[in-house]
């Protein structure tokens, strides 16, 4: 099942995938345990002539066992999840590159601050659906929405964040591999929801310098 996971190209994606695998193995083991026992019981304890079912109302020791063990596993999983969650959502590293993405029916509107690094100045550059970022740099995206809720989804970077009208939400990532990655909208946003997508272009330093040169030509 896990072989369908798209290649991970972000710094924190590995942590998400690691947790994904841990839960996969734990739940896989639980699934096999319960299923094997169930099939075994169904075969062993099928109706047969002359045998009467065991008369028992349960066992307190067993009840405690199968309450405590899952409890420990679930609490353990929670603690294992907390640090990655905090790192991804609450403590973004300082940005190398900043941009604004405004979702609208049915496009991603991209705003680059330009060489001065400030939004709302003359050198801002606006584009649709194509995001250009350098590899191995921390990118901060300020996510907005013009109309309804959309969701900024970068499957290869393990990034997903809803954009909510009236809010500026910070999303960050750091891509580790140059390439072109799809950016679909993951939240139903109307009849054009399907097909609302952009591209994230992760450039090598040279390519990125060239793109900056072309976008903001020196006068």
């Amino acid at each position: 099942m896990m072989s369908w996971l798209p290649e991970n190209v972000s710094t924190f994606g590995g942590e998400i995938d690691y947790l994904f695998y841990v839960i996969y193995y734990i739940t896989g083991a639980a699934f096999i345990l319960v299923t094997v026992l169930m099939i075994l019981f169904l075969i062993l304890y099928r109706q047969r002539e002359g045998r009467r079912a065991t008369y028992t109302h349960g066992s307190t020791a067993l009840e405690i066992t199968w309450t405590v063990i899952p409890a420990i596993v679930f609490v353990g999983l929670s603690f294992a999840s907390v640090s990655s969650w905090g790192k991804i959502k609450s403590h973004p590293p300082p940005p190398d590159v900043q941009l604004q993405v405004t979702a609208k029916q049915f496009n991603w509107e991209i705003l680059y601050p330009g060489p001065d690094g400030k939004f709302g100045t003359e050198d801002d550059l606006q584009a649709e659906n194509d995001i250009y970022v350098p590899v191995n740099k921390v990118v901060h995206v300020i996510l907005k929405s013009k109309d309804v809720i959309h969701s900024f989804f970068l499957p290869h970077l393990r990034v997903k964040q809803d954009s909510v009208p009236g809010r500026d939400i910070l999303v960050w990532f750091q891509a580790v591999k140059p390439g072109k990655y799809e950016l679909p909208c993951a939240e139903l946003c109307g009849f054009g929801h399907s097909g609302m997508r952009g591209w994230l272009h992760v450039h090598t330093p040279e390519e990125y310098a060239k793109w900056v040169e072309e976008s903001w030509p020196r006068k």
Binding site: W4, A53, R167, L188
Partner: protein, 582 residues
């Protein structure tokens, strides 16, 4: 003479009530139960056909759906489904399946039919309220279905109706369809509220002598807790729906940011209802499964008290986990952590239930009847659905799988998995409801086909989800990274069609058995609970004399008697004093 006393006189004299009072505007809980069953089965067919058309589109995008070329534009174009109609179909599929199939059948039908019979009373506490509850529910169904025929088509903002998409007609292009959707659910809320007040009152006040709370069958426990959940959760939905309707029709801005409103407020209100709602759907399925597993293992339910208390704790906790639907909604990440913790905690009672079902099978003398097979099918599906839920409880993993087919797989294993408990219940109580047995071989064929194709249809959705396949997209071929997954989509669609066809044996069996000549006996499964002491089907008033209860519902293979069952109302010389002391 009081009204109740008159009604009881009517029972005693078997007064003929005439066609309308017997079959249409009946106050008899059993007839109302049957009415809910037929309503639910009819809606199941509609909800299922909507799913089939969506599956066609997902496997072979934008090709002509067979037999559908008669649908006028703009709803379809020569049998081709446009995106707008696709969105409307998945919205209506979910709405119908949740509110008009699972709730009417599991809660409406079995709640009404079983509560008075299993606790040993003659009818519900408020028979007229009960009648009103069904007919208000039916009106709500008519309003919902009528939205297919208004200009713009039915609601298309998903069954979750996230604002602002649902809050302004311009965003979806649906005007009256969404209005009717909201109005229909408000009406349905009134119906469910009447039902749940009735259930709670009946269970608290009208249990037969000796029927203590901890002698009640788990089916009754589950319906009792479900009714309490509905009573507490539904007003929140109704309020939210009213606010949404105000935003749409009267220019308020509860959920619109430009007017100072907050889109996330809708999600908080909706899921505050929505998560307890999941347990409204699944608890009765758990209760029914517990009873059927015990009956056909000829063995007491393992850990009766643990089962009852785990349901009570699920009910409490279900009001503390709604935020796990909103991890990536923009909600404060610290809240995400808190909701992850509570979600992990609610998984514990679910695990307890699963292990106790296993414990019930252990050492049993298992009879593989149709109801038993379907109950086992429910356990198997619930196991998968429960385990897949742990992935999304973990906040970091949820970042990736949220809004993908992984979620679709998960909730179909849980909610569509309930259909196994539903079938189990229909096969099990059909003799009591209609006085005839269903055909066993046909039932077994139905189970085997349904079980195979259910898993073939829903399990591969996990693979799609791991691949990143978003839910609610109209055409997966529009995305490069999803194109390698298209084979899975085709496989799922073919399996879904076969799953649909697998229901033909059930339809044949159900309708055929209604008209079968041979009458069912009083207690064909040799079960302990009180409904089996009444005639099949029970007459108006249910019992010749109100039964007296001496023990719990699960005394199978008790050493006290020679047979392997011991009905709740049978007085044994040795237990009578003990029962009185109890």
């Amino acid at each position: 003479m009081s009204e109740a006393a008159t009604a009881h006189d009517a029972h005693a004299h078997h007064v003929e009530l005439g066609f309308w009072r017997t079959y249409v505007f009946s106050t008899d809980h059993k007839m109302i139960g049957r009415q809910f069953l037929f309503l639910g089965l009819f809606m199941l067919i509609i909800g299922g056909l909507l799913a089939m058309m969506m599956r066609w589109q997902l496997a072979w995008p934008e090709t002509e759906i067979p037999l559908m070329s008669w649908v006028p534009e703009p709803y379809m174009y020569g049998g081709i489904l446009p995106p707008q109609t696709y969105n409307a179909f998945f919205t209506m599929h979910a709405t119908i399946m949740i509110f008009f199939v699972v709730m009417p059948i599991m809660v409406g039908c079995f709640g009404n039919f079983l509560i008075p019979l299993m606790i040993g009373t003659r009818d519900m506490a408020f028979p007229k309220l009960n009648l009103l509850s069904f007919w208000v529910g039916a009106v709500s169904g008519v309003v919902m279905l009528s939205s297919f025929f208004v200009p713009g088509g039915p609601a298309a903002s998903g069954w979750t109706a996230y604002a602002p998409l649902s809050a302004q007609a311009a965003f979806t292009g649906v005007e009256w369809g969404q209005h009717l959707w909201i109005i229909s659910l408000i009406i349905l809320g009134i119906s469910s509220l009447m039902g749940s007040i009735n259930y709670i009152t009946t269970i608290v006040n009208m249990r037969a002598p000796g029927m203590t709370y901890f002698r009640m069958p788990l089916t009754i426990w589950s319906l009792f807790i479900t009714a309490i959940l509905l009573l507490l959760a539904l007003p929140v939905l109704t309020t939210a729906l009213a606010m949404l309707l105000f935003d749409r029709m009267f220019g308020t801005s509860f959920f619109l940011s430009q007017g100072g409103g907050e889109p996330l407020l809708w999600q908080h209100l909706f899921w505050f209802f929505g998560h307890p709602e999941v347990y409204v759907l699944v608890l009765p399925a758990m209760g029914v499964t517990s009873d059927i597993l015990s009956t056909f293992s000829r063995k007491p339910i393992f850990g009766y008290h643990a089962m009852a208390f785990s349901m009570i704790s699920i009910a409490f906790l279900s009001f503390t986990v709604w935020g796990h639907h909103m991890f990536i909604s923009g909600m404060n990440p610290l809240l995400g952590t808190a909701f992850m913790m509570s979600t992990m905690v609610i998984a514990i009672p679910s695990a307890i239930k699963t292990f106790n079902w296993l414990g019930t099978l252990w050492g049993g003398s298992i009879r593989f009847t149709s109801p038993m097979l379907f109950a086992l099918g429910f356990v198997s599906n619930f196991l998968i659905g429960g385990l897949s839920g742990i992935f999304m409880a973990s906040t970091p993993v949820d970042i990736f799988i949220h809004d993908t087919y992984y979620i679709v797989a998960h909730f179909h294993y849980v909610v569509a998995g309930i259909i196994f408990a539903l079938f189990a219940a229909v096969y099990y109580w059909f003799p009591k409801m209609f006085g005839r047995m269903m055909n066993e071989p046909l039932g077994k064929i139905h189970f085997v086909l349904t079980y195979i194709f259910f898993n073939c249809a829903f399990f591969p959705m996990h693979f799609l989800g791991v691949g990143g396949h978003m839910r609610r997209i109209y055409n997966p071929m529009q995305y490069e990274f999803l194109q390698p997954l298209q084979g899975i989509n085709v496989f799922i669609t073919v399996s879904a069609f076969l799953l649909g066809l697998s229901q033909i044996p059930f339809l044949v069996n159900f309708i055929g058995s209604l008209f079968a000549k041979k009458r069912a006996e009083k207690n064909p499964w040799q079960a302990n609970t009180l409904e089996w002491t009444a005639a099949s089907p029970p007459p108006h008033g249910n019992f010749d004399a109100v039964p007296v209860v001496y023990r719990g519902a699960y005394e199978y293979s008790s050493p006290e008697v020679k047979e392997d069952w011991l009905p709740q109302d049978r007085q044994l010389a040795t237990t009578s004093t003990a029962a009185r002391l109890h």
